[in-house]
Structure formats: C-alpha cells, structure tokens
Amino acid sequence: MNRDANKIYGIDLGTTNSCISVLRDGNPHAISVDGNGIVPSVVSLDGGNLLVGRKARNRAVAFPEESVRSVKRLMGTTEKLTLGKKSYDPEDISAMILRYLCDEARRIEGCDVERAVITVPAYFSDAQRRSTMEAGRRAGLTVERIVNEPTAAALFYDQIHASLEGSTPKGGKSSERHALVYDLGGGTFDVSILRMGDIIEVLASTGDTRLGGDDFDSRVVTRILRQIKEKDDLDLEDCVPALARLRSVAESARIALSEKASVWINEAHIPAPRGKSCAVSMELSREELEEMTEDLVGRTIASVEKAMEEAHLTADRIDRVLLVGGMTRMPVIATRLEAIFGTARMPVVDPDLSVANGAAIQGGIISGENCEQILVDVTPHTLGLKTLSPDEERMFESSPIIPRNTQIPVTRARTFFTIAHHQEIVNLEVYQGESLDPDENVLIGETELKLTPAEENCPITVEYSYDLNGIVHLVAEQKGYSRKTEIRIDSRNPKLFASQDLDEIEEDADAEENAPGEEAGAINFVTQRARSLIGRMEDDEGKKLLSETLARYEKALRDDDSDVDEIEDDLLALMEDDDDDAEE
C-alpha cells in the first residue's frame, strides 16, 4: 500500500502512558505497539540496552535506579536524571519515548515518521511547552504543533459524533453544544470548555499540571507504609527499592478498585534496609481509597467550577461531559461530575486513546488533509507588559495585554504613558503569567523603544500578536512621533528573539512574501472537497469547468474579492450536480 511519507502523526506524550496515532482515509487510528495502543512512558537501561515501554515498566519495579518514569512532571525544569552512569535532561528521556513510538510506528506503517503533532496539558506553561518541543527535536521530529490535550480529545469526539450522526452536511441549521472536557491523567489535570457546532471553539481552559494518578498512588503507598510501620516497626520511607515495589502495588490496587469494592494487598519479600525484607497483607476498600484522596478529587472539581465561571456558563448549559485519561475510570469521578451535570451528559469515549487520535486529526488540519473540522483554540496564559504600578505596595506590575483564554491568532494593543519629561527610552519586558507581580511571572522577551523628546505622559501604544504556534510579536509606537520598534518572540525559543528597527523589518517582510512555498494558502473545506471531486470525475468537460471555477474561487479567497460569495455559490452548485453524476 502506498502511504504518504509526509503524513503528520499525532502523539500523546503522557505521564504514565503514551500513544501514537495516524489518519487513514481521514480517520485516526492508534498504532498498536507491542500489541497495545497504550505504551508506558517508562525508560530503563539494562546494561547497554535501552528499554522503553512495557518492558521498561516491568524492569523498573526491580531496578528503579536504572529506570525513569513520570518524566513529564519534570518537563520545563532543569533537573537532571541519572540512568545508569549518565545524566540526562528531561527532554532526553522524553525524546527516547518519542523515538521508540516513531520507530515502532515506522515498522508497522512501513514509512518514516518525520512530522508530528504532540499534545500537552492545556495548562502547561510556556517553558513546559518549549521543553516538549525540544524533546521532539531531539527525537529527530519536525514538531508541527503543540496541541492542548483536552482540545485534541474534543476534536476526536467531534469526529465520532459526526460519523455517528451520518454525513449531515455542515453549515446548515446551527445546533451548537457546550462540551466540558475533564482530563485526569497520570500526572496532570486539565479542564476545558468548548462550544461545538460547525466550528469548534475553546471558551476556557484551566487545570493543574501537578495533579494526577501518581498523587493518588502516593496516598495508597503512604497507607501501606503505615501498615508496615505498625506491624513490623520498619520505616521504609527512604528505601528506594521498597518504594518502587509499593508504588507498582499501589497502582494495581487503585486500578482494581475501579472495578471491585475492595482488594487484598498481598506482597511478600519487600526489600528493606540492611538486607532485610518484609511482607504486607491488608485489605483496602474503594471507600477507603476515596476517603484518602477526597481532597485531590475536590481540587479537580474546584477547577471545573473555575472553568465554567471563566466561560460564563452554568452547569445546566453544559450539554456533554467528556472524560479523558485513565484516572477517570475511578467511579467517584463520574459520581462527583454526575452530581453537577447529570448522568445523561456523559458519553462514552475511550479515555486512553482519544488524545492521540485528536492529535492525528489536528495533523490532518495542518496538512490540509482534513478541512471539515475547524478549531479555534485559546491562549492558556496571560501576556502582559511590565509597568510602573499605581499601587503603593509594589514598584512594578504586569499589565495584561492579551488575557488568558483569548482566542488565537490575535492582536491586541494597549496605551501606556511615559512618566518623565523628555524621557529617552522605555523598556518593554514581556511577561507571561497570571500574577500582578512580574517577578512571579515568566519573562519571555524584552526590547526597548527610543523616544523622541516629548512632554511627560506621552502615549506609547504597545501591540502584541500571538499566532497559532505561540509566537509573540510586539510592536511599540510613540504616538504622534511615529517612532516604532518591533520584536518577534518565539516563545518556543526565547533566546532567539530579535529586536529590530522598523526599516529592517519591512525588508524582511518583503523577503518573506516572496519566499517560495508560502503561496499554497487558500485552503478551506470547499476547495478540498472540490479537489477531491475533480480527482474522482470522469467527464472531461465537467472536470474542466469545475477546475476553472475552483481556480477563480481560490483567487477570490486570496485577493479577498467582494464577489467571493457568488463564486462560492457557483462552485457549490456545480459540485452538487457533479457529485450526483459521479454517484450515478
């Protein structure tokens, strides 16, 4: 079978498990690695042999020092990890997982995996996103986009939903629904609210990047440790081999409790300090588990409420609740959400695979393979400018220019004023984060604007643009003096931001416009449907007419002609006739 080597793969790089998916005939398929779509995000070094996935997870129980798990929780930090004798960045470990997924996918699909969309929790910070991007690069991938996990899950859900309803033509009656995606994974929690209809818009996104299954397991481990302490008077809190074993036991018990009301934890030969060992035998009920993790679940519910508030919606206006992430199999999660949203609102989707499948769909949107679904996502964090504070408490504050949950791409401007007579310069420092105090936010770029001598209180307009790839573009202008400065901040690579004078930038812009390959543009669902129809048509004359109309339409789109409506109607009418003919 001739498969396109240029396909964009979707990768869910999870805390506990990862998954890779690809579009086949427009539908996403999770690729089965080692007989399973879900691959444990664990690496282990066995002598000189690097293991990833299931084998690594099994080995990690016996050899925790030679294994790394839950590396996602360290993304965006500078923490070093040791594996055998060498030390690694979190990006290196993630790259090993990515490489493994891609190699396996290549083996199964029979073509190279070069381009990928990788998902991250919606609430991941700029640094965590950059770190994920870097991991992709180190794995030799072109990372086409970093996509938010709940958004990806919603895209997948939207696609199954559309196929279940049959191919009702879109663009007809508006039947918009609000969906809430509750995504509790191994290490992170996200909640997003989306409006879904002919287009999919994210309205609000929030979460906690350090809350997940690992935390639930830790509670169970603590409980077992207490039992051992009471029974054998042994303190295993600092005993790494014992903890690795108990963690694995705790995870199995927690998973089993999603099905059963109670489980027995029987574990012998648990390694203890000074060559000793011990055993544990105890019963754990679902009720006890729920009790000891009640605060964790409570935190997720608080985020759900915050997201609804930010989307200006009440619970009765949420039509669907989508559960994503293996942790949502815990019955108490569904119970708590049912109490808020009612049972009818919870459709069944595969909580493990939907994120990777959604990422593959996003890959199709980028490549132009899929133009039926249109996604409008939001900025996860506020972008602000460091300004003098009017408060007496602090010297500076971060004045928001693009607030979080703003739909992207977007351009926003705000006017500020100089404080000194004949002020010579203003420093422009771009901060990301929700705090009023710039020091609690992250500096992602800076530049300065030289001023023409003027009275104090001279207005300075600062404009931020944020594109689909998370690149921030800043333009500052001294009003009435037309002194301008611009910088481009690639939030994926902040060290490379450049500050330029406007003249140079205009030259750059010209150069970019003439760059080859940028021409493609004009792609939407109409053009893609027309192209596919032309490919299937046999009547030469009809084919020619349709091709000509399509060319006129594409030109009108590019030039933003006023008669684009008319041409679109012509084209759609032509396509309808030709479609009927093709079917006959």
Binding site: G171, I374, L375, L388, P390, F525
Partner: protein, 129 residues
Amino acid sequence: MIEWAWKTLKVDRDADPETVRQAYVRLVRRYPPEHFPEKFAAIRRAYQQLTLDDDFIEEIFHRVTEETTPLDLAGFLWGDRDELRPDKDAALTDLIPLLTGADARNALDEALGRAAAQKIEWKTGDEGV
C-alpha cells in the same frame, strides 16, 4: 469601527445576535485560522465588536482615560481605530442602530453607565511604562 464590523461579517445594520453568530461561523469555515490567520483575526474582531463581547469591552476600558465622556466613547466606537470623532452628535445618532438585541443593549448600557460614572475604573493615565 462598527461600520467596518458590519462590512467584514457581511451583515445588515439591524442583524440580530443569532444572524451575527451564523455569519461569523460561516466566514470562519470559509477562512479557517489555520490557513487564513489574518483574515480570521479580522472576522473574530468584527464578531467581538458586534456582540460587545467582554474582551472587547475590556479593551475599550483600557483605551479610555479619565477625561473620556460617553460621547467620546461613542465616537471611538464609531470612528476609526484610534481617532475620537469630533462630531459627537452624529456619533450619538449612530449609536441607535447598535442597540438591537437585549445582550448588546445591556452591555452597552453598562459600558456607558460606567463611562458616565467616569472616575476610577478606567484610568490608565497613571501607569508609567
């Protein structure tokens, strides 16, 4: 500003919120953000203006100073991007067709009410850079 928004979304002056929404969705499908980022941003902006979306109101607040009167605000809405229109009476007349649909009216009433109260919330004048 509002004239531009009507034109961009290709809707009539008296379009109700549902019609505005449909026009917006139709245009976003034609100009998806993935392949038409600039055109999309313009459509989005026009939609926010016509629905007097919170973000847009917020943006207006950020642009208005202590001295701004409701009429100045109207002028700002109706004039060009950055200009306050000198002809205030004409600006007020122009406001009338905007007041269609309960949501839009409430939002604008609130905005104008706050403009009249004028004093505290809108000042951006004392923020130095």
